[in-house]
C-alpha cells in the first residue's frame, strides 16, 4: 500500500492540452474517485498514473518514488478496465496468474494468491471457466481478482461498473466498498456517475475541461461546492441558478435583486454595490411556503411523479425554468402559480467568475424577505 502524489501534471496531444496543471495528493489507503463529464480528462489522468499514457510535463510519485518513466508493470499498480479486458483464450485461473509469471512470483505462491482472491470474490467454482461462459458480474469479479493477486500498491479502476445493468451495479458497488475495507488499499476510481462517486469515495476529485475543479469529501462537495461547475454537477436534478445583482448595501446587509425570486438581503461580507452574482438552490431544498430568506415563484409546467418525491418544473417570470422537489402525495397541478422558499444555509452564492462567496451563516436571520 502506498500514497500517490501528482505535481504540476500536464498532458498534451499535439496542440491540444488535455490536462492542465494537475496537483493531487492521495493518502495511503484512501479511496479517491475522479468524476466529471466525458472528455474532462479523468480517464487520461488514470491512464497516466498507470503508465499507459506518457507524461508531457510534471511528476507522478507512487510511494514517494517518481514513476514518470517507469513501465506500467514497474509502478506497483493494478488496473481494472471498463471492458474487463479478460484474455478471451485463457480460463479464469490463467487470467489471474498470467501476469504473475512475468514478475517472478513462484508457482506455489501464485496458486495461493489465486485461491485467496477466488475465495474473497466467490470465484472458486469458476476458476476453470472461460470468460465467454461468465456473466457480466462474474467477469467483473475476475477482473478485480486479477488486480488483487498482483498485490499492487495502488488499485486503478476505470469506470468498472458502466457495463453492468442497474441492479448488478448497486450490488457490485457494495462489493467494491467492502473490498476496500478488507484490503485497506489505496484506490483511484474513475466514473462519470455521481452516485458511485458519492457512495464510494473518501474524497472526490471533480474534473472539468482538463482541470481539477474541487477536491473534497462527498458531503462537503454537496453542501459547499467551490464553484458553479461543481454546484451544477453534483446533485440530481441539478441545482437551480438565478442571476442576481447587488443593489444597495446598508448596515452590513446587501440587498440583492434579480428575475424569478423576491428581493433578498444577504450578509454584506465582501460584496460591493453593482456586483453580479449567481444564486444557487437545490430542488430538494425548495419547499412550499412563504417564510424563508429566499423565495422563488413560478408557474408549474410539468410534474414528474417518482413516488416518494415528485419534481415540479416551473417557469419563472423571465421565461427560464427551475425545478423543485415536492414530497408526498399532494403535487401541484399544471398552470398553478407556486411560491417556494429555501432556508438560509441552502442558498449558495457565487461571484461573477463563478467562485463561491462565503456567507457567514450566523448573521442570517429568517424573515429577511423584502417585498418589492
Amino acid at each position: 500500500m502506498a500514497n500517490l502524489r501528482i505535481e504540476h501534471l500536464n498532458k498534451r496531444y499535439g496542440a491540444t492540452t488535455v490536462l492542465k496543471d494537475i496537483n493531487l495528493g492521495i493518502e495511503d489507503g484512501e479511496f479517491v474517485v475522479l468524476v466529471g463529464p466525458s472528455g474532462c480528462g479523468k480517464s487520461t489522468l488514470l491512464r497516466m498514473i498507470a503508465g499507459l499514457d506518457g507524461v508531457s510535463s510534471g511528476d507522478i510519485h507512487i510511494a514517494e518514488r517518481c514513476v514518470n518513466t517507469l513501465a506500467p508493470a514497474a509502478r506497483g499498480i493494478a488496473m481494472v478496465f471498463q471492458s474487463y479486458a479478460l484474455y478471451p483464450h485463457m480460463n479464469v485461473r490463467k487470467n489471474m496468474t498470467f501476469g504473475l509469471k512475468f514478475t517472478g512470483v513462484a508457482p506455489a505462491e501464485r496458486e495461493r494468491r489465486v485461491a485467496e482472491a477466488a475465495r474473497m470474490l466467490r470465484l472458486v467454482d469458476l476458476l476453470d471457466r472461460y470468460p465467454r461462459d461468465l456473466s457480466g458480474g462474474q467477469r467483473q469479479r475476475v477482473a478485480i481478482g486479477r488486480a488483487i493477486v498482483r498485490q499492487p500498491a495502488v488499485f486503478l479502476f476505470d469506470e468498472p461498473l458502466s457495463n453492468l445493468d442497474a441492479a448488478l451495479r448497486v450490488s457490485t458497488r457494495v462489493e467494491i466498498a467492502n473490498l476496500h475495507r478488507v484490503l485497506k488499499a489505496t484506490i483511484v476510481y474513475v466514473t462519470h456517475d455521481q452516485v458511485e462517486a458519492m457512495t464510494l469515495a473518501d474524497r472526490i476529485v471533480v474534473m472539468n475541461n482538463g482541470r481539477i475543479e474541487q477536491v473534497g469529501k462527498p458531503l462537503d462537495l454537496y453542501y459547499e461546492p467551490a464553484n458553479l461547475f461543481v454546484a451544477g454537477f453534483i446533485g440530481s436534478p441539478a441545482m437551480n441558478f438565478f442571476d442576481a445583482k447587488v443593489e444597495t448595501i446598508e448596515g452590513g446587509r446587501a440587498r440583492v435583486a434579480g428575475a424569478g425570486f423576491l428581493n433578498l438581503d444577504l450578509p454584506a461580507a465582501s460584496l460591493k454595490v453593482g456586483d453580479t452574482l449567481t444564486l444557487g438552490v437545490r430542488p430538494e431544498h425548495l419547499v412550499r411556503g412563504v417564510n424563508g430568506p429566499f423565495a422563488a415563484e413560478g408557474i408549474v409546467e410539468l410534474v414528474e411523479r417518482l413516488g416518494e418525491a415528485s419534481f415540479a418544473y416551473l417557469r419563472r417570470v423571465d421565461g427560464r425554468m427551475f425545478v423543485a422537489e415536492v414530497r408526498g402525495r399532494r403535487t401541484p397541478s399544471r398552470g398553478e402559480t407556486v411560491t417556494l422558499v429555501a432556508a438560509a444555509p441552502d442558498v449558495h452564492v457565487f461571484d461573477a467568475s463563478g467562485i463561491r462567496v462565503a456567507m457567514p451563516i450566523a448573521s442570517w436571520s429568517d424573515g429577511a424577505i423584502v417585498q418589492s
Binding site: L52, A85, Y87, F98, G99, F102, T103
Partner: protein, 277 residues
C-alpha cells in the same frame, strides 16, 4: 406464405440453382469423365460412370508418366512454408505498425502497401537474375521467398484490421500485468488472430497454390515443379490422350475441392467478416 411470395421465392431458387449448375457443371463433367473409358467419354459425356464404363486408365497413365506425387509434395511444401511465414512475419509487422508509434511509421506502412496493388510479377526479370546469381535458381526456396514477398503486403493489411479490432484494454491490461511486449504479441494478440487466417488464406495462400508464372520461370526440372506447372506441362504433352488429360485435371481439382468443402465455412466467414471492405 402467400402464393405470390412462394412464386417469388421459387424464382429466386431457380436462378440460384441454374447459376450453381453453371459453376460446378464443368468441374463435375471433367471429374466424372476422368473415371470412364475413352469410348464412353465421347459416346455419352453427360452420363456418370457405371460398371461398364468405369476405368482408371487415365490415372494409371498419369502416375506412370509424370511425377505427380513429387508435384504434390512440392506444392504442399511451398504453400505451407509460405503460409507460415506470411502469417508470422505479416502479423508481427502488422502489430508493430498498428501498436507502436514511431517516426516514419506512416511512410513505412505506405511502402509496404505498394505490393498490394503493384504485382511482383513485373519484377520477374530481376528476380530471375537474382536467383541465378544467388544459386537459388530451380529451388523451392526461390519460390517460397518470392511468394512470401508477394503475400506480405496483403496479409499485413488484413491483419492490421484484425489487430485494430482487438480491444485496446486487453493489451493495456497485459502491460499493467507486466507482460513483456514480445509475449503480449505471441501470447495475447496472436491467439486472437485465428479468425484472420481464413481471410489471409483466401487472398494470399490460394493464389500461391494456383500460381503458374513463378514455377514456370523459376523452376526447370521435374523435381521442383508444382502441381499447377506439372499438370500444365503434362496436359501440353498428352493433349490427345483424353483419359490422361481428364485424370490429370481431376487430380489437380480434387484435393483443392476437398479442402475447400471442409474449410468453406471458415473461408467464407473470413471473406465476409468485414475485415476487407
Amino acid at each position: 406464405m402467400t402464393a405470390e411470395q412462394r412464386a417469388k421465392s421459387l424464382g429466386v431458387h431457380l436462378v440460384l440453382i441454374a447459376y450453381s449448375l453453371l459453376a460446378v457443371g464443368p468441374i463435375l463433367l471433367v471429374v466424372m469423365n476422368s473415371f470412364k473409358v475413352r469410348s464412353a467419354i465421347f459416346g455419352s459425356p453427360l452420363a456418370p460412370p457405371d460398371a461398364a464404363t468405369f476405368s482408371l486408365v487415365g490415372y494409371e497413365k498419369v502416375f506412370r508418366s509424370s511425377h505427380i506425387l513429387t508435384y504434390y509434395s512440392n506444392s504442399l511444401i511451398v504453400t505451407l512454408v509460405s503460409m507460415a511465414l506470411v502469417l508470422l512475419f505479416g502479423a508481427m509487422a502488422a502489430w508493430a505498425l498498428t501498436e507502436y508509434r514511431f517516426r516514419g511509421s506512416t511512410a513505412l506502412a505506405l511502402f509496404l502497401s505498394i505490393g498490394i496493388m503493384v504485382p511482383i510479377r513485373l519484377g520477374s526479370v530481376a528476380i530471375l537474375n537474382m536467383m541465378r546469381s544467388a544459386g537459388l535458381n530451380d529451388t523451392l526456396t526461390a519460390l517460397i521467398l518470392v511468394y512470401v514477398a508477394q503475400g506480405l503486403p496483403m496479409s499485413i493489411f488484413i491483419l492490421s484490421e484484425f489487430i485494430q479490432q482487438i480491444p485496446r484494454d486487453l493489451r493495456d491490461a497485459a502491460r499493467c500485468d507486466g507482460v513483456p511486449e514480445t509475449r503480449i504479441f505471441f501470447e495475447v494478440v496472436a491467439p486472437l488472430l485465428r479468425p484472420a487466417i481464413a481471410t489471409v488464406a483466401v487472398f494470399t495462400i490460394v493464389p500461391i497454390w494456383n500460381d503458374l508464372w513463378f514455377p514456370l520461370i523459376l523452376t526447370s526440372s521435374d523435381s521442383t515443379h508444382t502441381v499447377t506447372l506439372g499438370v500444365q506441362q503434362f496436359l501440353g504433352q498428352y493433349i490427345t490422350d483424353w483419359n490422361s488429360v481428364l485424370a490429370a485435371l481431376s487430380m489437380a481439382i480434387l484435393p483443392v475441392v476437398m479442402i475447400y468443402v471442409i474449410l468453406s465455412r471458415q473461408l467464407i466467414a473470413g471473406l465476409t467478416s468485414g475485415a476487407v471492405k
